[in-house]
Symmetry: C2
Subunit: 170 residues, 2 copies
């Protein structure tokens, strides 16, 4: 009888040890799981930025200078050749209106590459400007995009022409 | 004697349980510690980029076009007005040599702001070009800097002039 009691106590202690070891293993795995990898996906950001450029081109062709300016952050800089940086959405709208009224009727924007993080992405691209059917300028750009209220906005926008200065549209 | 043996076996099993529980606790703490916070410091990166720009200006004034080109990544793009992007260190050296030989004798580079991460930083800046004592151009730029072998290199470099096209240096 005493031997049976001892056997029961041994078995209980052994089971307790095994249970603790298993619990220990599970706890370690759970601790690893509460540290997730960052979920930012640059390919998704690139798709969103290509879509934002499409919206830019659509608003431009519709002569909607306010709509184009709203794609920039409130404190954005539009860095065009031949002028100091144009700072702020209001001034950018005024310059955009001037460009549209000068006869530039549409713009092509082609994303070459993007680099960055969840809220700031730098885009390299190529552009072309048209007056009706005529291509009047083509060039390259870097845009620093900033996510504001969940949407990508142009924060810094610099570009220049591939054409010799003598034939560039002004 | 048998009672003493049982006592030793009980004690050993209990100690084993306690040891496993403590080991389990320590293991969990260690798992937390192996996930450190990122240590990137943008202020340090800004200081390093300002230093790299100083080196750029020093090599430029020394007419060291190879030295300037070595500050760019092998696959860099130099995106100047009036030409498609100049791609690769070798072509950039050739263009840099041409600029130096055209009479541009020095360049001022002033960092306005930087944004980015450990290996990629976008810089907004202002530049001035001089022929001897005369300022012949001034403008703005965005540079995408890439860390290669622990040092910042120009990876994308786009700039344009603040001056009206009619008076810009070509």
């Amino acid at each position: 009888m005493k031997t049976l009691n001892n056997f029961i106590i041994f078995s209980t202690l052994l089971l307790l040890c095994i249970t603790i070891m298993n619990g220990c293993k599970n706890q370690t795995e759970e601790t690893k799981e509460v540290t997730p990898e960052p979920t930012f996906d640059l390919a998704t950001a690139k798709t969103q930025i290509i879509a934002a450029n499409k919206t830019f081109a659509e608003r431009f062709v519709a002569k909607d200078s306010a709509g184009v300016a709203n794609l920039y952050t409130q404190d954005a800089k539009f860095m065009m050749n031949g002028s100091p940086s144009i700072v702020g959405r209001e001034h950018i709208q005024s310059v955009m209106s001037g460009i549209i009224n000068s006869g530039i009727s549409s713009v092509d924007l082609i994303t070459i590459d993007v680099w960055g993080t969840e809220n700031l992405v730098t885009e390299e691209g190529e552009f072309a400007l048209y007056a009706g059917e005529n291509k009047v300028d083509e060039g390259k750009y870097l845009i620093l995009w900033k996510k504001v209220d969940g949407k990508w906005h142009l924060f810094r926008d610099i570009f220049n022409s591939n054409l010799p200065p003598s034939v560039q549209a002004e």
